[in-house]
């Protein structure tokens, strides 16, 4: 197991180098001058030259890359042109909001998707099965931004029960920063107004983001449950007189969950991608929101920093999912 983890961490280094080279090359193919953007329209040529020298932009591109990687190894992702702050500080501000949104979306997809998938398999061909099929089709077909607007219209515009955007009500102070995830921080600090307000605010964007994943979770859980329910050990368990719910849940579902867990890992990446759209619709100040601004402003340090960090996050999530297999299925071992 340890050797496996070390090997995978080695792959992580290769991924980071590959992603950094690719994004660096692409950023420098664009005929734009970050120094001019950083200084603004009243900058003098002398100032631009000075900043270019300071940023190492007067060096050949391979040298610039090495300088960038050297800074990266020291935790310096550069400075954002838009916010005028270190990219890492921006990232630490924005990323927890995305993680929070993604976790709640995943949680919702699992809370609703797994039971529906199980019940669809148990009552195959019944009305619930047909209903989940239609729901799944709807979920994978509908554009997220449109669904978000629809949710806003219904739950904020018509029913007045949920807020339309942002992370907190205007009259509620942000909880003390611990993780940057408001629901967690407010819970840890017993800040109940902030907890309820942040839960209020995360519900609609998370539900929007969850929808496509929910459809996939239902379908995958249903198919693997059907497969598991046809196995010999299930027949044996039934023949022994084990209660039906116990057979379904303890014997069948446990094995059927492995593909779902795989899916959860893969879907995390998709959720991060989907968060870009959802964050714009709901003015959710996460990494998607930040990245869109960075791309529009050609904030090249921010674009590169975020790309590298997200690549690392994606790789780590996949590693965690692989390790979870062993937890769920003792037959799986890693050499």
């Amino acid at each position: 197991m340890l050797a496996f983890v070390i090997r995978r961490l080695g792959f992580l280094v290769i991924v980071v180098i590959g992603v950094s080279m690719l994004t660096f090359a692409m950023s420098h193919l664009v005929p734009a001058d970050p120094a001019r953007l950083l200084l603004g329209k009243t900058a003098t040529p002398a100032q631009i030259t000075q900043i270019r020298r300071g940023l190492g932009l007067d060096q050949p591109v391979p040298v610039q890359y090495l300088i960038y990687m050297d800074h990266l190894l020291h935790g310096d992702f550069g400075q954002s042109i838009s916010s005028r702050r270190p990219v890492l500080s921006d990232f630490l501000d924005y990323f927890p909001a995305t993680v929070e949104l993604t976790l709640y979306a995943m949680l919702m997809a699992l809370v609703v998707g797994i039971p529906l998938g199980v019940l669809s398999a148990v009552w195959r061909g019944g009305w619930l099965d047909h209903f989940t099929r239609v729901t799944s089709l709807f979920g994978v077909s509908i554009p997220l931004f449109w669904l978000g607007l629809l949710f806003q219209l219904i739950f904020f515009g018509w029913l007045h029960i949920l807020p339309s955007d942002s992370r907190l009500d205007g009259n509620v102070a942000a909880p003390h920063h611990i993780t940057g995830m408001y629901t967690v921080d407010s819970l840890l600090t017993a800040n109940w107004p902030a907890l309820f307000s942040s839960l209020d605010h995360v519900l609609l964007p998370a539900a929007t983001l969850a929808f496509a994943t929910l459809a996939t979770v239902i379908r995958v859980t249903r198919s693997s449950m059907i497969e598991a329910l046809g196995k010999d050990y299930i027949r044996t368990a039934r023949a022994k007189g084990v209660a039906r719910w116990r057979v379904n849940v303890r014997h069948a579902l446990r094995n059927a969950l492995i593909p779902t867990i795989t899916l959860v890992g893969l879907q995390f990446g998709n959720l991060l991608g989907g968060a870009f759209l959802v964050e714009i619709v709901f003015s959710w100040p996460g990494i998607g929101f930040y990245s869109v601004q960075a791309i529009r402003n050609f904030d090249y340090a921010a674009i590169m920093g975020i790309t590298i960090i997200v690549a690392i996050a994606y790789t780590v999530i996949n590693l965690v999912v692989d390790l979870l297999y062993a937890v769920l299925d003792p037959r799986i071992t890693y050499a």
Partner: protein, 536 residues
């Protein structure tokens, strides 16, 4: 490792789900109640468009920060007016200028206190300008003529300039840059070279509101400053929340629900929709921003004045006003926007006339034949894209082929620095920083103000115009400068280095129960005059 049993896992998931869903059934009553209204009460929530890049007036220079900076800080003078701009006293009550036009003496208002309790004096003004000019951030380039600032008495300040600059008092009324900050609060906190500033999280102003909290990337909360020198007679808001919701549909819904009192960045469709909603008013104001077409006068064909005039006659001004701006714009009548100082309407303005365009091409001789140009614009500048498409079709009718190309701002700001890479024709926008068209004349048409020094992206060069602009720029008074500006502008207009197209109108949507809103012609829709606003 012990395994979590599946039923327990499901129960846990269901419990968390129930916790998640519970708030949905509970209306957040606290957020929707309003306190009863004595004269200073209630909360105003407005959309300022974008998150400010900085809360420090010496660093910030973007439209998103205008409302915050103007609410928390004061300038020596104020530029006010919805259609024409006039200069009013701010922290200074009057000014005088020396005979050589190089020294401005400003008298400060007495009895003004900063939010930290300290008193405004000449030393504070000197401190503020020294700090701003030393930092070389934001709009400092506009103030490069300042040689030194002297405190010559408790309430008297002298600005010594390197050359006479008649528009100087106008620049002192800008938002972003010349605001006065408290030396006591700022202390020894200097602005870092990367723009990071102590005032991003602290407030050092004298304005009507003081900073309560800044929730990065979400909102800024202000509260009324009881010691404000302007006083609190009449109705005002006790609290102001500045936000920047990105989605137009969100803004529309929140405005209709009353959780947003005013907004500015909705799509035209959403403005049209809310204009029919009860409880919402949509105002339309002529803006000082102009849409102009900049012609690279060094390129083959475009270096011929007749070809440039032909292009001015081939632009369908009214078609763009109606088709692109839905009537929310007016054809420009001169080189700059109307409403500011030193605007001079053209005696014979260009009109959409393809016959005249053909005649100009004929007058150009061989330079007017077989012409192909590339028209460029920002990829997200929808009005310019649509106007360029109309222009392309009309130019085809007079035998000029136009290719269209979107260029991101990052690329544009780089390629524009050389005439050889500068786009043939650029569809852009320009907004004046202070209340004088002369800012544009000087920056755009003085031959040495090419992109490394100014905004002459046309690479326009006329030594007669240069002489006139120099005399105007260095005149000792606005009255003495005006004839030179006018002569220069008339000559520039005939040379047609640009097509001066339209001056748009801006839309603002407000809850009907909000009073006291006054549009600012100079600072545009992004500036909310929160001090004068109140709930009816």
């Amino acid at each position: 490792m012990s395994h979590l049993s599946i039923p327990r896992l499901l129960v846990l998931i269901a419990a968390v789900g129930a916790l998640l869903l519970a708030p949905a059934l509970r209306t957040s009553a606290a957020s929707r109640t309003r306190a009863p209204a004595p004269s200073v009460s209630g909360t105003l929530t407005v959309n300022v468009g974008y998150e400010p890049a900085s809360l420090d007036p010496a660093v910030d220079w973007d439209t998103g920060g205008e409302t915050y900076i103007a609410a928390v800080y004061d300038t020596l003078f104020r530029a006010v007016g919805a259609t024409r701009v006039s200069l009013k006293p701010g922290l200074a009550t009057r000014w005088s200028v020396s005979r050589d036009g190089k020294t401005y003496t400003v008298t400060l208002r007495s009895g003004v206190h900063f939010h930290d309790g300290s008193t405004l004096n000449a030393q504070a003004v000197k401190f503020s300008f020294d700090r701003f000019l030393k930092a070389k951030q934001g709009s400092y380039g506009i103030f490069s003529e300042i040689k030194r600032v002297q405190a010559v008495g408790a309430h008297t300040v002298k600005f010594v300039l390197t050359y006479p600059f008649a528009s100087f008092p106008q620049t002192l009324a800008m938002i972003d840059g010349p605001e006065i900050v408290s030396p006591k609060t700022v202390g020894s906190h200097q602005i870092a070279s990367n723009g990071a500033s102590y005032l991003d999280s602290h407030d050092a102003g004298t304005g009507p509101y003081e900073l309560v909290s800044y929730l990065h990337n979400q909102r800024i909360v202000l509260k009324a400053f009881p010691g404000y020198w302007g006083g609190w007679k009449g109705k005002h808001f006790a609290k102001v929340v500045l936000q920047w919701p990105a989605s137009s549909s969100t803004q529309r819904l929140r405005l209709q629900q009353g959780t947003l009192d005013g907004t500015i960045t909705m799509t035209p469709e959403d403005f049209a929709a809310v204009s029919h909603s009860s409880g919402i008013q949509v105002q339309t104001h002529t803006a000082q921003t102009i849409f102009d077409v900049r012609i690279n006068t060094t390129k083959h064909g475009l270096n011929n004045v007749h070809v440039r005039r032909a292009l001015s006659y081939a632009y369908d001004y009214n078609g763009v006003v109606q088709g692109v701006f839905r009537g929310l714009a007016a054809k420009m009548r001169g080189v700059g926007p109307t409403g500011l100082k030193n605007f001079f309407p053209a005696s014979h303005p260009y009109t959409f006339d393809l016959a005249k365009a053909q005649a100009e091409l004929k007058a150009a001789g061989s330079a007017g034949k077989n012409l192909t140009f590339t028209v460029s614009y920002l990829p997200d500048d929808t009005p310019s894209i649509q106007a360029a498409q109309i222009f392309q079709a009309d130019c085809a009718k007079i035998g000029i082929k136009i290719n269209l190309q979107g260029i991101p701002i990052a690329t544009y700001s780089n390629i524009v620095t050389k005439p050889s890479t500068d786009p043939d024709i650029w569809f852009g926008q320009w907004t004046m920083d202070y209340a004088d068209d002369a800012e544009m004349y000087w920056s755009y048409f003085y031959s040495k103000n090419t992109p490394n020094n100014g905004a002459n992206v046309m690479y326009y060069k006329d030594h007669v115009v240069d002489e006139l602009l120099l005399k105007a720029q260095h005149a000792t008074s606005e009255a003495k400068a005006a004839p030179y500006w006018k002569a220069a502008v008339n000559r520039i207009y005939q040379a047609a280095p640009e097509i001066w197209t339209v001056q748009p109108r801006e839309q603002i949507a407000l809850r009907s129960n909000i009073g006291g809103y006054q549009y600012s012609f100079l600072f545009s829709k992004f500036y909310w005059p929160v001090y004068s606003m109140y709930r009816k």
